[in-house]
Symmetry: C2
Subunit: 337 residues, 2 copies
DNA sequence: CTGAAAGCGCTAACAG
DNA sequence: CTGTTAGCGCTTTCAG
C-alpha cells in the first residue's frame, strides 16, 4: 500500500539518497535519473511521510504552523476578526506547503509549557491572536524561540496590527463633520491597542479643536455579556450628554441599539453610534453601522509574510507591519445642527 | 536541550522499553521504577516527539484530527456556524490529546488525493464541514478509509446534523400561529439538508391545513453576494403575495431587510421574515430575527464523540446523531389578521 | 553526479 | 517485571 523512497530506489536501481535529493530538489542529479525517479514516484503513488521527514531532518520541521487563540473559550475562533485573519493566513501559508494547526490553550495550572508543546509537534512557526496578555503562561509563550508573529501584541519582535490610532482619529473627523462635538469614547481596557486608539481619539479632538473633557472617556470591555449596557449607561451618565457614542467594536455597538431603544433613544435620530472592526453584518444590517474596517485579508497575509520570512531565513524588510484601516460610512450616524 | 527516552533510561539504569512503557502507561512495571522514571522525566523536562511516535508506532497515528472545510475560500472558517462547530469540536478532542489541523482544500486540478494528504500527515480522523458535495475530488474524500465524521452530509457512515425538517415545520407552526398563511419558502438548492428542510415546510403546511401552492417555493442560494435580492425578488413575484418569507439562513434574511426597505416594505410591519441558524447577531440586532437555532455546541460535541469512538475502536451506539433545533422568537415576524 | 552507512526518537515483538 | 533487537521512512555526512 504505502510506497516509500526505498521502493522507488529499488525500481530505479539507485540509492535512497538519490531519490531523496530528487524529491527535495537539491543537489546535482542527472536529468534522466531525475525524470525516471519523478515518474516512478508518481506511478507508485508515493506520498512523503511528514513524521519521517520531521524525525530525520536536522531542523525537525513538521511544516506545521501553530495558532494560539488567547481568548475566552466560547469565543475563540468564532471571533469574526480572528477567523478571517486565520483564513487568509491559511491561504498564504498553504501556498508554501505549511499547514495550520491549533495550539492548545495552556493555563497556569498546566505543567506543560508552550515551549514543550511546540517542540513536541515540531511546530515551525507560531501565530498569536490575543485580546489580552495577562497570564503567566502566556508571557512564557513570548519567550519561545520558535519563529512567531503576533496580531495586536506590541511586545514581540514581529507583529502585525491595524492603524488603530489613525482609524479612531478619522472617525472623530467624520463625527465632527457630521456636526457632533459631544462625543463619548468607550475605552476597552488599557492594553497596547486600547492605548493607540485612545491616542487617536485625543488626536481627533485636538485637530478638530474640540476641547477635551475627561468625562468623554468611559471604560467598558470589548463585546461580552452586558458590555453594551455597561458602556451605554456610563456614556449616558457621563455628564456630557453625548450626541454620539464610539463603541470599541461592532458587536457591542450593535447590541447597544436595542438597549438604547429601551431607554427611549433611537439610533441614529436620537443618538449616533459607531463601531470598530467592520464585520460582515455591519454593512448588511439596518441601520448600517458606521465603523472602522480592519483589513483582515491584509492582516492575515502580513502575518504569513512575516512568519514565512523567518522560516526561510530571509530577513523581512520590516518586522512590524501596520495595516491601514478604512472608515465605513453608514446610517448609524446622523448629521446634526 | 531536547531530552529523549534514552536519556531517561540511562539516568534510571533501565532500558528504553521500560521508559516507553511507563510513559505510555502500559505493561507491568514496578511502582518504584515507574515513580523513578516519571520523576526524572519531569526533572529533565522530557517532551515526547510526536514524529518519532508516529513513525515508530504501528498505526502511524499522529494524534491529529484533520478538518475539511468545503466551502468558498473567502468564507471558509468565517462561516459562523462552522467556526462554532469547530471550536466546540476542538475543546472535546483536545481533552483526549488530539489536536486539530486544517486539511488543504483540494480541487480537481490537484494531482494529490485526499487519501494521500491524510496519509502524509498520519491524520487519525477527519471532520468534514461542507455546504455542497459536488466536485469529483470531494467525492474521493468519501472513500478515504480514515475514520471520519461529517456535518450535514448524509452519504457517510458517521454524520451529525440538525433536525432540519422539524425545525422548519416548527417555524411554519409559529408563522401560522401569528396569522400567516401566504408564506414563501426559499429553497437553497437540492442537497440533503435542503431536501429535509423542504419536507419540513410541506409537513408544516399540511399539519396546519394550509393548501400547498407550488408558487410558495422559490429557489435561491445560501448567503452570497446578491442572494438576498434574488430570493426576495422571486418571493415577491411568486404570485402569492406573501406576508412572510422564510430565508435559508440568517445572513440572507438580515441582508434582505434593507433590500425590502428599498422596495418600500418595512420588516415586520409590511412583511415578516425568518432566518435559519441562529447566529449571534440575530438575537442582538434590531429587529431581532425569528430563526431556527442550530445547536453548534451539541453538534461540535457530537462530531467529536463519533470520531473519538472510532479512534478508540469503541462502537458508537449510534453512527448518526441528529441534534434538536430551537425556535428563536423575535421581532421580525408580526402578528397579523 | 551517486551511494553506503549511520542515525532521528520511539515502539514492538520476543526473550528472559 | 525488564531488556534485546529490529526497525518506522527519511536525511545527512562522507566517500567515491
Amino acid at each position: 500500500m504505502a510506497c516509500t523512497i526505498y521502493d522507488i530506489a529499488k525500481e530505479c536501481n539507485c540509492s535512497t539518497t538519490t531519490v531523496s535529493k530528487v524529491l527535495n530538489n537539491v543537489g546535482k542529479i542527472s536529468s534522466e535519473k531525475r525524470k525516471e525517479i519523478l515518474e516512478t514516484a508518481n506511478a507508485l503513488g508515493y506520498v512523503r511521510s511528514q513524521s519521517a521527514v520531521s524525525l530525520a531532518s536536522s531542523n525537525k520541521s513538521s511544516h506545521l504552523i501553530g495558532v494560539v487563540l488567547h481568548i475566552r473559550e466560547d469565543r475563540s475562533i468564532t471571533h469574526e476578526l480572528f477567523s478571517e485573519i486565520i483564513n487568509y493566513l491559511r491561504i498564504e501559508v498553504e501556498k508554501e506547503g505549511y499547514d495550520i494547526c491549533f495550539l492548545r490553550n495552556l493555563t497556569n495550572k498546566d505543567k506543560l509549557t508552550y515551549s514543550q508543546l511546540v517542540q513536541s509537534r515540531g511546530i515551525d512557526g507560531i501565530v498569536i491572536l490575543s485580546l489580552s496578555t495577562d497570564t503567566k503562561k502566556f508571557l512564557e509563550l513570548m519567550d519561545v524561540k520558535t519563529p512567531k508573529v503576533a496580531f495586536d501584541l506590541f511586545n514581540t519582535d514581529y507583529f502585525v496590527t491595524s492603524m488603530n490610532k489613525e482609524g479612531v482619529a478619522d472617525m472623530v473627523d467624520y463625527l465632527v463633520s457630521m456636526g457632533h462635538t459631544r462625543i463619548c469614547y468607550v475605552r476597552p481596557g488599557s492594553g497596547g491597542v486600547a492605548k493607540k486608539r485612545l491616542e487617536g481619539f485625543l488626536e481627533g479632538l485636538s485637530r478638530n479643536n474640540i476641547p477635551y473633557d475627561p468625562r468623554m472617556i468611559v471604560d467598558a470591555p470589548y463585546y461580552s455579556k452586558g458590555s453594551a449596557k455597561e458602556a451605554t449607561d456610563k456614556a449616558l451618565n457621563s455628564g456630557i450628554n453625548p450626541t454620539a457614542i464610539m463603541y470599541p467594536d461592532d458587536y457591542t455597538a450593535i447590541s447597544a441599539i436595542p438597549y438604547l431603544r429601551k431607554l427611549g433613544l433611537k439610533v441614529p435620530n436620537d443618538i449616533s453610534i459607531t463601531g470598530f472592526d467592520g464585520v460582515e453584518v455591519s454593512k448588511v444590517m439596518r441601520p448600517s453601522l458606521v465603523t472602522v474596517r480592519q483589513d483582515t485579508k491584509e492582516i492575515g497575509k502580513s502575518c504569513a509574510k512575516l512568519l514565512l520570512a523567518q522560516l526561510s531565513n530571509r530577513e523581512a524588510e520590516n518586522k512590524r507591519i501596520i495595516v491601514p484601516t478604512k472608515l465605513l460610512k453608514g446610517e448609524s450616524v446622523k448629521k446634526i445642527n
